[in-house]
Subunit: 359 residues, 2 copies
């Protein structure tokens, strides 16, 4: 698996005009090598793969990293002056690509100090491979989605009159760990009342407000892969105004889902959902994109957004998450994950998106 | 408070050769403005402060950000071509500093496309201010330390024959939330047996192994500030070999603590602990630095390490965390946080570091 990924990567070197790629983005390192630690870089060439990290991670490298990589200790060593010259054959690597999104201005300063190598800006070489999920990856994503649904259902079951947003966040994290998740794929969003009008709300110590939207936006991390799901429910009562808005959001989501096919542009799918919301008079209340890719990262490519010009490809896994937000009042968002298949979308979620009143 | 911090920052502009600073590092933005969201940048000048963020965070800005900042919507707008020219008076900002550690190569490409401004690399202007904690900040750190101790004590109390590392991580997070933490300041490390030999171990689903080191390295996030504490305990039994190593680590920590005074170099404090470990024959088993600053970030300046040439200053808050790691067998680390006071260290932790056998 790792061999294949690295070979696919090296097949892009000629077009990118590079002899090697210095990979510094952690999810890319994980994708290429299996490493889940937080400090490393890898240097990939068509004939040799080096794994550079410090003292703290050597044991973990021995356990996790694909055997096609050679471990190089770089504890406190200058990459350009010491580490690179120590790698046999590296002197022949004239043009070494680096990841321009990830490399800092300071790191660029270090790279450009090299006298025997030219460092060349590249973008998205590994990320592009990661956008097409294998069937094995899709099964891991499916498992992360299923776990997310199980945990969410359990957590909703704990809701009572005294429950706070913070309580529900605590329950999500605890039940995630207890059921075997490596963790949550992002800090869970639990937002009730006016707080739900913020798409990226931070939970509070306030009790859940009956008769207002209660938004859960949460994800599990399982086997390295992420899930991401949003459900907006109502505690005890759903006023008609919110029920109407809920059904607009649901229609927007379902319509976008129906439009998914390989070859469609991300902005075309976004436009389908957005038009439903515009037609209902809430166009200015849906200020974010419709969705994003999910994999080793909870936000990755491709995107479903007004500016997304890329075509959907078979094997993409994305979210579909329209929303309507009324500042100071509340907001509704519904989110599922789907795979782009040759004949259309396959929804990875299994739970209903029908309006749910709980408690 | 925010006024004072911004004025202290602007007082450094002349020496840095800049008319304004574009701040893109999130903890720095929080320090200067109060904002806790995840997407923003601020432009600070001696006479005007602008807060740039997109649609999703406008409500949060209204609630959190200091009123001395003017909100500027930058949703989908090019910073150089659209946003900057729209700011009244910005045409007079000839040299604008940027944070070179944080700005990516791509962002640098955008900044250097400006025709009417010169963007100037700066490093650590805000971080340097953050290293000196006010008494109010120290009280927040003290509260985060106390909460950490309370949660740790509770969690140790749950330890039983069937408890796994993952169970203990779940308990830490759950009890943190339930007691009012915004979260943990990093993913808790709970490592038993050979897993404890990795300084940055990842928890497993394995049961705690009696008679081996059980390391907890954990921190709370409270009021924006972090804590960080490590305790290594023994479940049921502590073999003499490990008791000896434990007491070496404890002596190293206590000796380093006694050496803390304003004006001492970070490497001098590190050397005191390291010498104790070297003298005991474990010099090559302590591969990381002795400590680091803690504040809005769990790892910030200054450092206690072999290469740390900076002097300790009154108001620094740091960790003191020596360790000895035997690959494949286990490891011991003990960590407290302290404040550098005019007359020496003040330990923020209150719990004993004596060898503890539990269960």
């Amino acid at each position: 698996m790792y061999n294949q990924r690295n070979e696919q990567l090296c097949a892009k070197f000629e077009e990118a005009g590079i002899d090697a790629l210095l990979v510094t983005t952690l999810p890319n390192i994980m994708y290429l090598s299996g490493f889940t630690g937080s400090t490393a870089m890898v240097l990939i060439t068509p004939t040799k793969r080096w794994f550079l990290t410090d003292f703290r991670y050597h044991t973990q490298v021995a356990q996790q990293v694909d055997k096609s990589f050679e471990l190089v200790d770089n504890t406190g060593k200058n990459l350009i002056k010491v580490v690179l010259p120590s790698l046999p054959g590296s002197e022949s690597l004239q043009r070494i690509g680096f990841e321009s999104t990830n490399v800092s201005y300071d790191m660029w300063g270090l790279l450009s100090s090299a006298e025997n190598h030219e460092f060349v800006s590249t973008k998205g070489l590994v990320e592009d491979l990661r956008e097409i999920k294998s069937e094995a990856e899709i099964e891991l994503l499916r498992a992360a989605v299923l776990l997310n649904e199980v945990v969410w259902q359990e957590v909703v079951g704990t809701l009572g009159a005294d429950t706070t947003e913070a309580d529900l966040v605590a329950e999500i994290e605890y039940r995630a760990r207890k059921r075997g998740a490596s963790g949550t794929s992002f800090d869970p969003i639990v937002a009730s009342g006016a707080n739900s009008s913020k798409p990226h709300a931070r939970f509070t110590q306030e009790r859940i407000v009956p008769g207002t939207p209660l938004t859960f936006d949460m994800g599990m991390l399982l086997g390295g892969y992420c899930s991401d799901m949003t459900r907006t429910v109502f505690f005890r009562d759903c006023p008609e105004k919110w029920a109407n808005i809920y059904n607009i959001v649901k229609l927007a989501k379902d319509s976008a889902n129906d439009a998914v096919m390989p070859g469609k542009l991300g902005k075309e799918i976004d436009a389908v959902a957005r038009q439903v919301i515009i037609d209902a008079g809430y166009g200015d209340k849906f200020g974010h994109g419709l969705g994003h890719g999910v994999g080793l990262e909870v936000h990755e490519g491709p995107r479903l957004a007004q500016v997304a010009n890329m075509q959907l490809r078979v094997g993409n896994v994305l979210t579909n998450e329209p929303g309507i937000y009324l500042p100071g009042e509340g907001g509704i968002r519904i989110e599922d994950m789907f795979v782009v298949r040759a004949d259309g979308p396959e929804n990875l979620n299994t739970l209903s998106t029908d309006l749910l009143v709980v408690g």
